[in-house]
Amino acid sequence: MTTAPAWAIGVCNGVHAAGSRDVVYVPDNPLSHVLRVFEQQFRDVRLILATREEEALGIAAGLYLGGRLPTVMLQSSGLGNSLNALTSLLMPYQIPVLMVVSMRGDAGEWNAAQVPMGRAVRGICEAIGVPHATVEAAETASDTVRLAGKTAFGTRTSYACLLPRRVTTGSDPQGDRRRSVTL
């Protein structure tokens, strides 16, 4: 069994500490570490696979209506797929979702198709009024995610936690090469 990266353990701790026990996700390479930590160390967290990010947010809204505190994990490229759910369901109904966003298109990116959306993520969040926080380092991942979740669920606003590639792949010198082969 490979050791889980510290940033991924931090993300899981933060989600759990925010009270969330339901994680709806669309897969992403760095997020696979987070999923593995949830599976192995947080048996009380339910993981729900969605086919698309907008669908994931719809499922999360239903979980919230049922009394749960939902988290949605996605890649930043999926933010574009999410906008209708965010702006015409979560925001007008004040349904909070803690979003954990694995960044593409930022420093370390090798795929030009990922860059425009990656560059636009913060601007889009600000344009539609979704607050965002960036996990700056593995050591602060848990606090950043926990506090975002606390504000999300306390104030009934969705909140995005961004995970830069510097944090999720920067410490893995083989990471980029491996991905360039496998993708």
Binding site: D22, I48, A50, E54, G58, I59, G62, L65, G67, F153
Partner: protein, 204 residues
Amino acid sequence: MTRIEATRLIVELAGDAPIIASLGHPAYDLFAAGDRPQNFYTWGSMGLASSVGLGLALARPDARVIVLDGDGSLLMNLGSLATIGLLRPTNLLLVVMDNEEYATTGGQPTPTAHGADLEAAARAMGITATATVRIEDELRRVVQLFQSGDRNAESLAPQGPRFVVAKVKESAPTAKPPLDCVFIKQRFMTAIGNPESATEGAAL
């Protein structure tokens, strides 16, 4: 069978079951058929009614969750059928009010007007308890089976979510639900037994 007739029938049989309605005419008809606090009217997010219903069914396995979707709406989120077919919550009834048109936007034909078969799509995605109904008696039977949790139904498979295409004639809506989204949400959550004030407290 018109959509308002089908909707009235479902409301009549729903008891206190939560009902999630897709935006536009399905939501308008749900309001006209019988406004009740257990109705969740969406005003946007076309396509997501079935996803919201799925999330609610997962969160509340004790509740029997009914979704009123449209054919155009479901076609916008067909992946939802794969997710429902994967998770198979037994407490979810997805009714597609299939009028074969985008009625809310002026009556443009949807692909179901040209043969697209949403029941076949649901079956292909692993939802086994499916039906297509055209008259009220058929619809009544399906909803009653769901409400009773009957696991010995002949025509519908015994396990998993239920999926029904109700072929309906368009009926011009006569009323609109409340416009206040937060009111709709809070009234709904209180009515189904998890008031939002309790949810908020759990986070802090």
